[in-house]
Amino acid sequence: MTLRTTFIGLAAATGLGVPALAQEVAVITPYLAQPGTQFYVDGFTARAEELGWDLNVIDTAGDVAAVISRMEDVVNQGVDAIVINVDPAQIGAGLQTAEDAGIPVVGMDAGSDPLVAANVTSNGYAMAAETAVYVANRIGGEGNVVMFTFDPFPPVQARGVIADAVFGNFPDIQVLDRITPDVSDGGIADSRAQMEALLAANPEEGSIDAVWAAWDQPALGALQAIEAAGRADEGIVITGIDANPQAREAIAAGGNFEASVAQDFEGIGQTAADTVARILEGEEIVQRVIYVPTTLVTVANADAE
């Protein structure tokens, strides 16, 4: 027996240097191929490695029923926690299986459900407030604002409600129109068409002061319409939300599109991992929705990332 093996044997006998059985955590998503999801998972994985977890990332390639099947499998396998990135309303059967086995489920931008211990996401109310206030301040609290909203989709509907409240709090701001674009082709083309119609209906310079969009695509459509109409120099302020690459580019160019809000996808992944860690340590999570701070993107920081 060499010195080395003796030492290892000693360490094992005394429990020194031999980690306790690693915690097993499964991340299950149908959407791994989408860029946003990859950032969540990257953030989660980095934190999980620091915590020494045995991590299993499972992608079901768009199949939601398979998410339920894989949840059943990992429950059977006896994992310590499950992280999901899919609407909990669609995987009730899987959540119930985990609940029955006493395995906690944490949502990574998933949605709230009584069977989800906590959902980690961005605060849509705060993001909408940030851009709406940006618009109001930028136009000095008075003028005509065009809103692009989409009430059929609850997370976006919430953004619209907040913008309504902010603009309603400025007596000299009028909401000229509250447009719901057709989003079947992504939302840019129809938003552009609707904005073109609105520009035609309001031909005088200065009759439109700002465009507030509940996400980036309508903001980009409105930008195209304003530029095509030759009214880019009227100082119409445009804001979006999400700060997708195309929006960042437009903001960095320094035109009418002035601001958007970036979600911290990696931060959501990291915080989801931290939340799992808290639950595994036995903490009862009372705050069932955990928000990760977002960043206002303007020409000052649009090039970052």
């Binding site: 029923a65 990992v74 059977n76 059967a93």
Partner: protein, 324 residues
């Protein structure tokens, strides 16, 4: 020797897969709870693959089953949003499956378009209809009646394990019923024997007085209704419906039938062999997930195993033919 390998190679392979997982996952694989789990996970695929067997007996295909499953799910869900009762909406969705299946039958059998081309076209049609009907949206939440979503979560309790009830899932019961019906149709009726005769030699069957055109037409009704039923089972399991959710069923169902054909004496599609094929695919998904094999590697492995099994069976058959 080759004879034995050909006849029992497939069965041995399947047992080897099960033994492999049983050894590697001693605590969790061969438990009643896990086996019931697998039976529920494969129930939708079982229904599609069992009905697919009916047309594959004649050497035909139905590529439209996946999009039909999606279509039937959104049809039922849309009717739910119009306050239809669960039985009525399910009835309409199944009727859509029957109509789609008969339409496939007409274009393949009466018009005479190759099944591959005809059902590829109807795949696109059904998929488009699913988007039209649903407006591209996912229908979920309060729009889906609780009774419909609860069906897939429930089932008769058949025992206890680890102080938790063991449930025989309703979806498993539906799948068993479908396999039983298809087994009776194919193996116990003259209808089924005629389908096999058509598959053996269509011209000979026609000369022997078998009404080939109406029989081929009617067989597609099975795949249509089976696909619609599977789509409803899927919608119940996820308590929601979207216009693409059943699409993945088609290729896997055909793979399962082929996998099953490696088990039968003369390489004919048989519904119980198809069931074994489905079970192997389900076991692979379940076992590899539990062993924490990467999901993409899992897909590669499953495809490779299908190729290996079918390839082995083809080689064995060729060896047998040479000796004859």
């Amino acid at each position: 020797m080759m004879q034995v390998a050909r006849r029992f190679g497939g069965v041995a392979g399947m047992l080897a897969v099960i033994a492999f997982f049983a050894i590697n996952l001693p605590e969790t694989f061969l438990t009643p709870r896990n086996l019931l789990n697998i039976s529920q996970q494969i129930s939708m695929l079982t229904v599609v693959a069992a009905t697919m067997t009916v047309v594959m007996v004649m050497g035909d295909f139905d590529l439209s089953v996946g999009s039909m499953a999606s279509l039937s799910g959104v049809v039922a869900a849309i009717l739910f949003t119009q306050d239809w009762s669960v039985p009525a909406a399910v009835g309409v969705a199944l009727a859509v499956g029957l109509a789609g299946g008969l339409f496939n039958g007409i274009v393949v059998s009466v018009v005479g378009i190759l099944p591959f081309v005809a059902t590829l076209a109807t795949l696109t049609v059904f998929s488009g209809l699913a988007f039209v009907v649903s407006d591209g949206r996912t229908i979920f939440g309060r729009d889906i009646p609780p009774g419909f979503g609860d069906f897939a979560r429930g089932g008769p309790v058949i025992g206890m394990a680890d102080e938790r009830a063991l449930v025989l899932p309703n979806l498993t019961l539906v799948a068993i019923a479908v396999v039983l019906v298809i087994w009776i149709v194919l193996e116990q009726t003259s209808y089924g024997r005629r389908l096999y005769a058509i598959g053996g030699n269509r011209d000979a069957a026609r000369l022997a007085g078998i009404p080939v055109v109406p029989l081929r037409l009617s067989a597609f009704a099975f795949t249509g209704v089976g696909a619609a039923l599977a789509g409803l089972m899927y919608a119940s399991r996820v308590a929601s419906a979207n216009p693409t959710q059943g699409d993945g069923l088609m290729l896997t169902a055909i793979a399962a039938v082929f996998l099953g054909m490696t088990l039968t004496r003369d390489g004919q599609p048989k519904v119980l062999a198809t069931l074994a094929g489905v079970a192997v695919l389900g076991v692979l998904d379940n076992g590899l997930t539990q062993m924490r094999v990467d999901s993409y590697v899992r897909e590669v492995l499953v495809g490779a195993i299908i190729l290996f099994a079918v390839g082995l069976s083809a080689l064995g058959r060729r060896g047998a033919a040479r000796r004859r």
